[in-house]
């Protein structure tokens, strides 16, 4: 894959950089990393991070430092659908552990692993601000809340059928609250 933004992405990037005062363009780093992750396969390879550094005219190490700090940036390849199941207190009290076990069994992977076909990666995450609608999982931009096993099954089927990469920047989010 060539690591270079297409015109549309580049226009968005330039729009983002323009939000900040002169000389403070480093502020654009996080939003641009999100775009880069979505554009270049759902994770940030060293090449991708070097490319982002060149766009912002900063040292590559500054990008590595930031990308490795935040939990939403994947520094290793992940499946097309990254299923992030919340496991903190309120979700735990309402059965998050069952959801994780169910997905593990269904996809035949352990937490942190990716299915052989590269379709799903299962990850447990900390509180996503969906405590009132627990248990929940996030995939790309979408929150899936008040989960039941049936809902999880249907979701997996739906995603498998759609067979596309999901990222946080997707527009087709589900309005669930």
């Amino acid at each position: 894959m060539e690591i270079k933004f297409n015109e549309e992405a580049l226009a968005t990037v330039n729009k983002i950089i323009a939000r900040y005062p002169q000389g403070k363009h480093k502020s654009a780093l996080l939003p641009i990393l999100h775009i880069a992750q979505a554009e270049f396969g759902g994770w940030l390879s060293p090449e991708t991070m070097d490319y982002v550094a060149s766009i912002l005219n900063i040292k590559p190490i500054e990008v590595y430092e930031v990308a490795s700090f935040y939990s939403m940036f994947n520094l290793k390849p992940v499946g097309k659908c990254l299923l992030e199941v919340c496991r903190t207190s309120s979700c735990w009290t309402r059965g998050a552990e069952d959801v994780v076990k169910h997905i593990e069994k269904r996809l035949n992977i352990k937490e942190g692993e990716t299915t052989k076909d590269g379709m799903f990666t299962l990850k447990t995450v900390e509180c996503l601000g969906s405590c009132g609608t627990a248990p929940m999982l996030q995939c790309g931009a979408s929150y899936h809340e008040n989960l039941t096993m049936e809902k999880v099954d249907a979701l997996i089927e739906e995603y498998r059928a759609a067979n596309k990469q999901r990222s946080y920047t997707d527009l087709d989010y589900k309005n669930t609250l």
Binding site: P46, K59, P60, I61, E62, Y64, E65, S68, F69
Partner: protein
């Protein structure tokens, strides 16, 4: 100017001075003041801007905020980053609370430390060793496997042992402030944080060797000195040479007539007086390269001085201090 009192000793210092600097000034000025009144530091380095505040070993209690606002500060503060106010009163070694909190910090710093001092080149001049000796528990309460990291190669001159690192950020600040291009930094977060170049590459520029001198522990050591000798078997002398890149003022660590190691000259707080270049540090290992000035003073409390004779004067001073401490206790 601001008048500040630390552990009962008063000194007047310029505005903008930190509590730590004031305490060091106090010790420098009055030879009768116990040097421990100046809090220990692991991350603060006066020659590096914005250093300090992270390790929490230098915490002190402020019992009186200032003349204007005498309220005490609610929490212990990092003395390296807290500026003095006129009339401020603080306690360090006379506060059991501070001693207790510092003990906690030392324990935190040690739980994941490998304690591989017997094979560590830093042993003998390690700040964590000193700190552990002064404030640590004799036994660890941590019974889990210690943190480990994958070793990375950062070039022919510097050896990195991430397991020994205490995250003081000094080497990152050296790279930012005295070298022209930083290639290493703090990666990941929490207790998984590590100093790394991310993609393995050498830290290579004329002043990179200074990250060894600023490292308070054995995380960054000199490869040209690796396993050559324990430091206390070497003899430090002051020396200089004409150098186009740096001042050329260094300390040579000799065994017989062999230069085993070259470092910057460290003051009584363990900080180098001047940063030196890699050529002086790594490539001039022949005594003919240097003009030797004379033996380097090493503090009597340091293990390095164990094989050296100490002057009578410093012994007298020490006895004087102990007498004074006894009389104030009464």
């Amino acid at each position: 100017m601001a008048k500040v009192t630390i552990d009962g000793h008063t000194i007047e210092v310029p505005d903008g001075t930190t509590i730590l600097q004031a305490a060091r000034m106090l010790v420098d000025k009055d030879k009768m003041v116990d040097a421990k009144v100046a809090p220990p530091t692991m991350c603060y380095y006066s020659k590096l801007k914005t250093s300090g505040g992270y390790c929490r070993t230098c915490i002190v209690k402020v019992t009186k905020g200032s003349e204007k606002d005498p309220r005490p500060m609610p929490k212990p503060v990092a003395s390296c980053r807290t500026k003095v106010m006129d009339g401020m009163e603080g306690v360090n070694i006379t506060s059991p609370e501070v001693i207790e909190a510092r003990k906690g910090v030392v324990e935190f710093l040690l739980i994941n430390h490998p304690l591989d001092c017997p094979i560590c080149d830093q042993a003998g001049e390690c700040h964590l060793q000193d700190l552990g000796y002064e404030h640590g528990l004799s036994k660890t309460r941590y019974d889990f496997p210690r943190r480990t990291f994958n070793q990375i190669d950062i070039g022919p001159y510097i050896k990195m042992h991430m397991t020994r690192c205490i995250m003081c950020f000094r080497c990152v600040k050296v790279a930012d402030q005295i070298t022209d291009y930083r290639v290493h930094g703090m990666l990941n977060r929490g207790d998984a944080s590590e100093i790394s170049t991310y993609i393995q590459k050498a830290i290579d520029n004329d002043f990179s060797g200074n990250i060894i001198d600023v490292c308070p522990v054995g995380a960054l050591t000199d490869r040209t000195f690796r396993f050559k000798s324990r430091v206390w078997f070497t003899k430090p002398v002051d020396a200089h040479r004409n150098c186009t890149k740096c001042s050329g003022k260094v300390a040579l660590w000799l065994k017989g007539n062999d230069i085993l190691r070259v470092t910057g000259r460290k003051d009584q707080w363990g900080e180098v007086e001047e940063f030196i270049c890699n050529e002086c540090r790594f490539e001039k290992k022949d005594v003919k390269d240097w003009t030797i000035e004379g033996p380097r003073h090493i503090d009597r409390h340091s293990v390095i001085s164990a094989n050296h004779y100490e002057s009578l004067a410093s012994l007298k001073l020490d006895i004087g201090k102990q007498q004074k401490a006894l009389s104030t206790k009464k």
